[in-house]
Structure formats: structure tokens, C-alpha cells
């Protein structure tokens, strides 16, 4: 039984990594949001499974929070933002897509090597997945760097948070409840502020292109 659950969790981790790669190769903002939602869903499934395997009831609660926040609330907010701002396309990336894929693969290898000695020590059922979680974090990080528009940057930020959350579930049995609630609150407030900011940036600069934001340079 635990064997099966462990396999399932590994499968979900693999899906998560695939989704991260899909995100860095995706140019359309709408599809990015879909991918982000799918990532959230995978995360919920993984959390529930770990909770089931380890009999940790509080993991169900945190799965519930993730479901509400990352599968329902944040995607909805993002849809509203892009509808109101009318941005559907994101053609430019700073480096071309095949190149980012190659860098991404290098990042994954790096993450696995970094996590290897540590995942051996993990007591959780999902011990093999710490490397994947770290890889997801790094991939989203790269996505934030290579995108020049505000919305994809924000999605990169959120997907990085997903990776971190997955790390917390896979390396341990999830963080203590207070901490998790606090993190969820911070993410929610953060995304609200960013949403408001996008409108202001749009107003001031007539565009959501972050490359306009480079007046403050060292001279």
C-alpha cells in the first residue's frame, strides 16, 4: 500500500516538473494560467496522498487551503486582471525558448545533485521528490528572469511558491499549521498587491512591459 502511494507521489512529482517545463516554454498568458492551475491541482493531490500515507490530518487542511487559494482564487483573480487589462499574448522572451529549455535541463540536473545527499536522509514517503521540488523552484526562478512582462513574472513567482510548498510536503510532513496559514495569507495579500500594481503600472507607463521599468539605474 505505502509502496503504491510512494509511486503515485513520484508520478505526481514528475507531472509537476513537466508542468514547470511547459510553463517556461509557453508564450500565451492564458495557457500559462491554465498550467498554473494544473500545477496547483497536482499539488493538492500530492498533499492529500502524503497526508493519507502518513496519517497526518493537518495535511488535508493544507491541501484544502491550497485548493481554495491556488486552484480557485488566484487563477480567477489572474483571469480578471488579464481581461480588464486585455493582455493575452506574451510573444517576447528575453532568451529564445529552445535555449531556455536547455538551461532548464541543466538546472534540473544541478538541483538533483544538490538534493541527493539530503533526500537520502528524509523520513517522509516522498523522499525522492525533494530534488524535483528544488528543480521546480529554480525553473520558476528562471521563468521570472526571462520574461519581460508583468503577468508572467507574477505567475513565475506563484509557481515558485508552489515548488516551495511541494518541498515542504515532500521533505517533511508539511510545516506546522500556524506557519502554513501565515504563508497562505502572505501569498494572498501579495497577489492582491501585485494585481493593484499592474493597474498602476499600466496607467503610468501605458504598458505592462517591465523593461520600461529601468529608469532607476546607476549612472
Amino acid at each position: 500500500m505505502t509502496e503504491l502511494v510512494g509511486q503515485l507521489i513520484n508520478l505526481l512529482a514528475a507531472i509537476l516538473l513537466m508542468l514547470s517545463f511547459a510553463m517556461i516554454s509557453q508564450r500565451r498568458i492564458l495557457s500559462l494560467i491554465h498550467l498554473f492551475t494544473a500545477q496547483g491541482m497536482t499539488l493538492v493531490a500530492a498533499t492529500v496522498l502524503v497526508g493519507y500515507a502518513t496519517h497526518q490530518p493537518h495535511l488535508y487542511v493544507s491541501a484544502g487551503i491550497t485548493l481554495a487559494l491556488k486552484v480557485i482564487l488566484i487563477p480567477l483573480l489572474l483571469y480578471r486582471v488579464i481581461n480588464r487589462l486585455d493582455v493575452r499574448w506574451d510573444v517576447e522572451t528575453l532568451i529564445n525558448i529552445p535555449m531556455t529549455m536547455v538551461i532548464g535541463i541543466a538546472l534540473v540536473i544541478f538541483a538533483f545533485n544538490l538534493a541527493l545527499p539530503i533526500s537520502k536522509l528524509s523520513v517522509s514517503v516522498a523522499r525522492g521528490t525533494l530534488g524535483i521540488a528544488l528543480a521546480c523552484v529554480l525553473l520558476s526562478f528562471m521563468m521570472m528572469i526571462t520574461r519581460s512582462k508583468a503577468v508572467p513574472q507574477v505567475i513565475g513567482f506563484l509557481s515558485m511558491e508552489n515548488g516551495l510548498f511541494f518541498a515542504a510536503t515532500s521533505a517533511t510532513y508539511g510545516m506546522p499549521m500556524v506557519v502554513e496559514l501565515g504563508i497562505a495569507l502572505d501569498v494572498l495579500v501579495g497577489i492582491l498587491i501585485l494585481g493593484v500594481f499592474m493597474f498602476h503600472i499600466r496607467e503610468e507607463f501605458d504598458s505592462l512591459d517591465i523593461s520600461h521599468l529601468e529608469k532607476l539605474k546607476e549612472d
Partner: protein, 469 residues
Amino acid sequence: MVLALTGQRDSAREVNVAFSLGTFVATCVLTVEVISGGPLFAWSREFYIDPLNVFLVTLTAFVGLTTAVFSRPYMRVEHDHGKMTPNRMRLYHSMYQLFSFTMLIALTTNNLGILWVAMEAATLTTVLLVSVYRTPASLEAAWKYFILCGVGIAQALFGTVLLYMAAEKVIGIEGGALLWTNLDAVKARLDPSIITLAFAFLFIGYGTKVGLVPMHNWLPDAHAEGPTPVSAVLSGLLLNVAVYALLRCKVLTDGALQSHLAGQLMMAFGLLSVVVAAFFLSRQKDVKRMFAYSSIEHMGLITFAFGMGGPIANYAGLLHMTVHSLIKSGIFFAVGHATQKAGTQNMADIRGLIKVSPTVGWGLMLGSLAILGMPPFGVFASEFLILTTAMREQPWATPFLLLALGVAFASVFSRVQPMVFGDTSVKPLRHPPALVPVFAHLGLGLMLGLYIPPYLDAWYRQAAQMIGG
């Protein structure tokens, strides 16, 4: 406790001051209690006050109070200039209180997870504070600040997860494996390989917030574009809180690794910050930007001191944290009045403060001398201690430190001097500036340079002991 006193929705400046005063009084009571009765716990050990954080709590509340006093006339002038609408004013005040609240939580919590949450919340509130003018430049600064610090602090969360993973094996899930006191008790048994990786992530994360050099980009922008009271609390308080977070992690790492890895990392990045910031200082045109770089420099110095470790360096680091936050916020108060008078932040256009308003001029002059480490002030004492310890223990670093301090002195002094003594034709403002905070801070900085009261001395020693080496 302190937390009950921090309100959130207040539109009046006076209420802002009153709340800060209340917080300050509460922290004073708390301090007296901790000094007489030893460490305190509250809320089923989720909050913990010991000599290390209690002095920062008091400092935070004090600077919070004086900044609130300062921001009364400052914001009134901004209002007259049309930069602040009533709505923004309300946002400003509620965020100001929320910001002090999150900082106090970050300082008093015993749970490293909550520490992270509070740091992130402090980031969010200051993002709103920085962008309160809604000018393109301030939006840009706030966006940059949010993204950089968001990413940085996410690394710290990963570090916290790893730390929890290491702790869980020793303490178990139920035992509150993220409580710092529990971790401290078992730190020698934590797994070294996990802790090494965890500290690397924590260091990058909280180091971003401290403004250590490769991750410092957000700091000058946020300081320059936000309202001046915000620059004062950012520089004087938030950076301190980040250093505090780093210190807590360092104590655990040192215990687990039995090596000096954490200290070496901190020394390397601290030194790099000092040197790089000193050279950037010489190229600034904006007065708030210049003092922001000076903050990076001093934070680097503090990190370097704690990296060296040992009772004297820790003592010096703590002292430097105190005097830096007092004097730097004092300078920002003076700079705030000066820029309002001149109507610009460009140093070339601010001239002859001494004629327009002698007190502001003297405040800025004395403050700059103090922050540059001129003898009677406290910065001299702590920098002197840091340098002598460096000479003894890390002689290779001393030339860099001296060079950086020299460059910083030359560049800041040569800019402040014409600002204060040059010719001018500016008329005075309608609202009298609040100069009490400036001189209160400078006076305290002066006092700490000449004479450290015995109880304060004992307190520093105790805290320095705790950090260990």
C-alpha cells in the same frame, strides 16, 4: 503584550504617534521585566524574549515612535504639495502601524516559520509604503523591491523547510520542531549536511533583505523613492530585523556544523558589501540614494563583525546596529526636511541649509559626521572595536575596511558640506519641522559614543555571549 497595542486603522497623524508611544511604553515595561526576570515565554512558547531580541524590540519601538513624531509635519507638507491625498494618507498610516507590528512579531517570535511570515508581511507593507506617491519612479522601485525581495525571501523559506526537516528527525513532529529554543537545545545533533544547505538558502534569503551586495539592488531605489519617514524606518529598523533573523540562523548553524562556515560566508559578503557600497557612494547624485548606499555599507560592516564572532566582535556588532539605526534615521529626518525645503532630492540643488534653517543644517552635518565615524559619536566606538578585532583575527580584511571607510568619508563629506554651507535663496516652509527626533537620536548616538551605561553594557555582553562565536 506589545501586540495588543498596535492598531491598524487610524487616519490621524496624532493617533499614529499615540499608538507608537503606546508600543514604546509597552516595550519599555517588557525590557525591564526581561532584565530583571530573565527570558520570557508567551502563548505556549510561540513567543520568546531574551536579551538578544529585547534590545532590538526596544530600539524598534523607539525609532518607530520618533519617526511617527517626525512624519507629522513631514506629511502635512506633502499634503500641501498635493503629493498625499486623504486616501493615501490613510493607507500610509495604517501600513505604518502594520509595518511596526510585523517587525515586532518578527523580533519576538520563537517560531522560525513565523519569523519568515512576519518578514514577508513586513516586505508587503513596505512595498505599499514605498509606492505611496504613485509616481512612475516609485512604482518602479516598489515593483523591483517586491520581486527581488519576494524571490530572495522565498529562498529563505526553502532554507526554513530544510531546517525543519533536520530538526524533525531529532525532535519529532509534535515537539515544535521550528521553535528556536527547542532547536537551540538540540543544535549539536542536527544533521550537518542538511544544515549547510539550509543555511546557504537562509543566508541568500535574509541576506537579500539585509541588502548584502550581490542582492542589494532594491535597497537604494526603495529608499530614494519612498517617503522619507519610510526610508528612515527601512534603514534604521527593517535591515536590523533582517540581520537579527540571520543571527538566529547563524547560532543554530554554528552549533550544528562545528565549523566556521556561517561566519566565513558572512564575513565574505559583509566585506564585499562594505567595499562595493563605498565606491557606489561616491557616484550618487540623489541625497537619499547616497545615504541608502551608506546603509548597505554599514550593514556589511555589521555582518562582517558578526561573521568574525567572538565576544568583542559581537558586542561591537550589536552596538553598531544600535547607533547605526539611531543616527541613520536621524539623518533621514534631517534629509527629509532639507529636501522638502529645496523641493528636490538632487544634491547639487540643495544648498545653504545653514542659512535657511540652521537646526536642520546642523542636524544633517552632525549626523553625517556621526555616521562616518567621527570620534565623539557611537559609530566611532563600534567601528573602532570592529577594526581592532579584525586586525587581530582577520588581518587580511583590515586594509579593505579602512579603504572603504576612507572612500565613504571622502564622498559623503564632500557632498554634505556644500549642501549645508553653500549659498541659497530658498524660503522657509510653513510648517515648523520636527527637530526633536533628529537631535534626540544624535544625542543618544553621542551618548553611546562617550559613555555606555552599565546596564546597557551588561545587556550587550549577555547578548554577545548568546550569539557566541
